[in-house]
């Protein structure tokens, strides 16, 4: 019996001893000297350290705690925490998500320093905008050149191409019900054909060729990169990145124009808004960090002199299809219901 006790106690002691700063850790490191802010972001994990360099240099007294996750998770977390918001700032989250958060009263309008540098279509037009964009992400196709050749497929150049019978079962795209990227493609098609009816007809035709609707924005491109499926409807940054990683991918920006959404910042409404949060938002649209954004994104909210990243079309602004973010947000529920009725829950086509 004693042995057992000493075993249990031993385990407990080891557990506690193994944690060097167990206490601070357990309770979180509260009360440190530095001002600290919590930032929720959906920016890509590998980009964040580069972006933050200039902030850390200029504001050594502000500690930035980053919570990074996919757009859907960050948004869900924001909404669930509504009663006692943990985040001070949202950085680089889809504007469509911020519109939802603003609708629920979670956002405090704030005009960051340098707002006049931000292109008008990249911000909430209000005097104290609820969201201010930093870059735009646009839909693109990832086409695996090796697999396309193996299957005797030509490289599709346009949305219309994707409905050709030769691509049957070779295309994967993001499910608009679970991914913002999927939704921006669908919303863009509905807005850019003569009528919404035509848009649905197009989606009907596309559906015949789709092998899978996937639950994330980047996954179709990843699947294309691994040769699981030759064509993935995903987004530009992802396609270009995989090309640069050495995968046999061609990034195709469709002829009719790409669907797009803005990655934007916002100030979270709470009892005590920290000055550091505003400092962060000012910095987040500064020319210096915008230059960093411009290294990965073809289109940034603040014009920079950085040359276009490799792989994007030469006039990226022209690549943007007509898109009314407000319309897309307001009609989202209706469109997704219709989409689910038409295409979801059917068994996988072979």
């Amino acid at each position: 019996m004693k042995k057992l006790f000493s075993f249990v106690m031993g385990a407990a002691v080891i557990g506690t001893a193994l944690a060097p700063s167990a206490n601070a850790w357990w309770w979180g490191k509260k009360g440190s000297e530095k001002a600290s802010i919590t930032v929720y972001t959906a920016l890509e994990d590998d980009q964040i350290p580069n972006y933050l360099k200039s902030f850390e240099r200029d504001y050594p007294n502000i500690e930035v705690n980053i919570v990074r996750d996919s757009t859907g998770i960050v948004t869900a977390k924001l909404l669930a925490e509504a009663e006692n918001p943990q985040a001070d700032v949202v950085w680089g989250l889809a504007a469509s998500s911020l519109l939802v958060a603003n609708d629920r009263g979670l956002i405090q309008g704030y005009a960051p320093k340098g707002l006049s540098n931000v292109k008008p279509s990249f911000r909430d037009p209000a005097k104290k905008p609820s969201w201010v964009g930093i870059d735009s992400w646009i839909s693109a196709f990832c086409v695996n050149k090796i697999e396309a050749q193996k299957n005797g497929l030509s490289i599709p150049k346009s949305w219309a191409d994707l409905t050709k019978p030769e691509y049957k079962g070779h295309i994967v795209m993001s499910n608009p019900a679970s991914s913002g990227t999927g939704y921006l493609s669908v919303a863009s098609r509905l807005q850019n054909l003569p009528s919404e009816e035509d848009g649905w007809n197009y989606l009907d035709a596309l559906h015949k060729n789709i092998a899978q609707y996937m639950h994330s924005g980047s996954k179709p491109c990843k699947a294309a990169g691994k040769g699981e499926y030759p064509i993935g409807v995903s987004f530009g940054y992802r396609a270009v990145k995989q090309v640069n990683m050495g995968q046999p991918i061609e990034a195709v920006f469709p002829k009719e124009g790409s669907g797009w959404d803005v990655e934007a910042n916002a100030l979270i409404k709470k009892d005590k808004i920290k000055p550091a949060a505003k400092t962060f938002l000012d910095w987040a649209i500064s020319p210096e960090v915008s230059r960093e954004y411009a290294k990965s994104f073809a289109i940034t909210a603040v014009e920079t002199d950085v040359p276009l990243p490799k792989g994007f079309p030469s006039n990226p602004e022209k690549q943007l299809a007509k898109n009314d973010l407000q319309w897309a947000a307001v009609n989202r529920e209706r469109i997704l219901a219709e989409w689910a009725k038409r295409y979801d829950g059917k068994s996988a086509p072979k």
């Binding site: 557990g15 193994l18 919590t38 590998d46 869900a76 980047s218 691994k226 050495g246 829950g345």
Partner: protein, 579 residues
């Protein structure tokens, strides 16, 4: 003297009542109360207006959603059948035969549970995907074979990977406790092996068997990790919840679907309650542990069976290790160790890994103590029957709550600074809100998330230990806690250690609840695996997964070593491995 005896007895009962009520309060606060706000949402729209059953009706009327319900049922039934079958044979081999290399098979029995779900998917895709080793016939050297991974088939394979070890845990603890005397009696009556199996073995483990059916059914009915990655267009309820909650921020509909998910769990509870009426314990103070005898045919069949299972599991793991070393699958198959340096990719180097290890240690220690004590109070005593039934019921619920829903509920409850009292302008401070944003909330979420399997495993073991022990102690005026420490714990030690290691390995790989709860300063590795994979670093994700699997394996080895020593020293009779 007479007075003292009465005092002792009533003190004993009083203490028991207090403890039962205390556990009841804890279980309510950690399981039921956090779920209430979310469930209330299922009766309201997203602006919090009460709309009655509208969500439920909408859900049923949508044909694609009802299809998901049917799909979930198909998945659950198929998975349950195979998982319990495999789990039973494997458990039987471990406990009732002279399986060669038994220690090895025992060590690796839960191996598929060590692999993070996302890594299982990566592994399956590398083997059975369109470019998979088997699909392409090992780079074209042999004829390829396409199992059509994406969809029903992939889900079933993934779910069996996840569910069969769970059935195994319960069945091992059920098969471990048996009475040699029954088999000896049968032998002297010249009963055939089949007859012995049908009349002794099966009835002996009927609770374990029934529970493993329920566990596998509910787990595969509610799991979303596997369908999300290899499900293709095969929709199930859990992916519907994901689409509603994460894709569309429609918490109300997400909550509604979660309630549908609870149905099988509640049915399971009701059925179990009926079964419990005619329960009898199998192990009395006089029992003798079962000692398997050599049987060349049975032993070799078992050896082949267990080997095949392990080959498949280790095959998937190997492809993950391979994935972590290969540059660009399947186009540039040069190897490098680059991916084990996590500093230049997503995450913060090794910090998430160590956070996860500590989180899992805490979960294992506190979880095991809490779960075993709860099961003990519920199972062994007579006072406060209704409350004990409620504790039992609450304890069976967490398994039906998808991690996603648990995570969100925990945010809603633990991030609430105070409660307002209805009809009064008065706020009560919520003491539990102190946990939010700390390691504590992660540990608690894990303890609750995996509570049911541990609880059932503990109850299965406790049920098989005769209540006679408690009754004798009572008549000898020994307080119950002495019996607990001196008899119950030593007898249940293998199960207790099993629960600890179950908690540990699950905490190492869990994503769904934690992804909503982890504080900015405590990144965890299972989440960084998802993020790395998301950022396109499949190889780094695979590398981190490899590390996690090796850690769990290491802990398992410690467990093996400890349990062997403990069972030797406590000289009790469990663990046929010693014979």
């Amino acid at each position: 003297m007479h007075f003292k005896k009465n005092f002792n007895k009533s003190f004993n009962i009083l203490l028991l009542r207090i403890l039962i009520i205390f556990v009841f309060i804890l279980v309510s606060f950690f399981i039921i109360i956090p779920l209430l706000p979310l469930f209330l949402k299922s009766f309201s729209d997203n602006k919090n207006n009460f709309i009655g059953l509208e969500n439920f009706i909408n859900y049923i009327q949508n044909p694609s959603l009802t299809q998901s319900f049917i799909n979930s049922l198909k998945v659950a039934i198929t998975t349950t059948f195979f998982s319990v079958l495999i789990g039973f044979i494997y458990a039987y081999a471990l406990t009732r035969t002279r399986l060669p290399l038994k220690k090895f098979f025992n060590t690796f029995s839960l191996f598929s549970l060590y692999i993070p779900p996302l890594a299982v998917a990566i592994g399956l895709i590398y083997i059975f995907g369109k470019q998979g080793l088997i699909t392409q016939g090992f780079f074209g050297t042999i004829p390829g074979f396409d199992i059509n991974l994406y969809g029903f088939n992939g889900i079933i394979i993934g779910e069996i990977f996840y569910c069969f070890p769970q059935a195994l845990i319960i069945l091992v603890s059920a098969l471990n406790l048996s009475d040699q005397r029954l088999y000896e009696a049968a032998e002297s009556l010249k009963a055939s092996p089949l007859r012995k199996f049908l009349t002794i073995t099966l009835p002996n483990i009927k609770y374990g068997l029934m529970n493993s059916f329920f566990i596998c059914f509910i787990l595969s009915f509610t799991d979303f990790g596997v369908p999300k990655v290899v499900g293709g267009n095969f929709n199930v309820l859990a992916t519907d919840i994901y689409k509603q909650v994460v894709g569309q921020q429609n918490f109300a509909m997400g909550a509604t679907i979660s309630i549908y998910l609870l149905v099988p769990s509640i049915l399971a509870f009701l059925i179990d309650k009926n079964f419990r009426k005619n329960e009898a314990s199998l192990i009395s103070g006089k029992s003798i542990p079962f000692k398997p005898r050599k049987n060349l045919i049975v032993d070799s069949i078992m050896f082949i069976f267990c080997s095949l299972i392990l080959i498949l599991v280790i095959g998937v793991f190997s492809s993950i290790v391979l994935a972590s070393l290969i540059k660009i699958w399947p186009y540039d198959i040069s190897l490098s160790l680059q991916n084990f340096r996590f500093s230049n990719v997503a995450g913060n180097g090794y910090e998430p890994y160590f956070n996860t290890v500590f989180m899992s240690i805490y979960t294992a220690i506190f979880g095991t103590i809490f779960v075993f004590f709860t099961a003990y109070l519920v199972e062994k005593f007579k006072p406060l029957k209704k409350i004990r039934m409620l504790i039992y019921f609450f304890s069976t619920l967490p398994i039906a709550i998808p991690g996603l829903v648990l995570g969100l509920s925990y945010i809603l409850f633990f991030n609430k600074p105070s409660f307002s009292v209805p009809f009064l302008d008065f706020q009560i401070f919520n003491p539990f809100s102190l946990l939010y944003g700390t390691m504590g909330i992660l540990v608690l979420a894990n303890i609750i998330h995996f509570f049911t399997v541990c609880f059932i495993s503990a109850t299965t073991t406790l049920k098989q230990i005769d209540k006679e022990f408690e009754e004798v102690s009572e008549s000898l005026k020994v307080p119950f806690y002495k019996t607990f420490l001196r008899i119950t714990i030593p007898l249940s030690l293998p199960t207790i250690l099993e629960i600890g290691s179950y908690y540990f390995v699950n905490s190492m790989i869990t994503v769904s609840a934690i992804i909503f709860l982890y504080p900015a300063k405590i990144p965890v590795s299972s989440v960084s695996i998802v993020n790395m994979d998301d950022a396109g670093d499949t190889a780094s994700a695979a590398a981190m997964s490899t590390l996690i699997v090796l850690t769990s394996l290491f802990v398992r080895l410690i467990y093996e070593f400890t349990s062997r020593n403990v069972s030797k020293k406590s000289s009790v009779w469990i663990n046929p491995l010693e014979t």
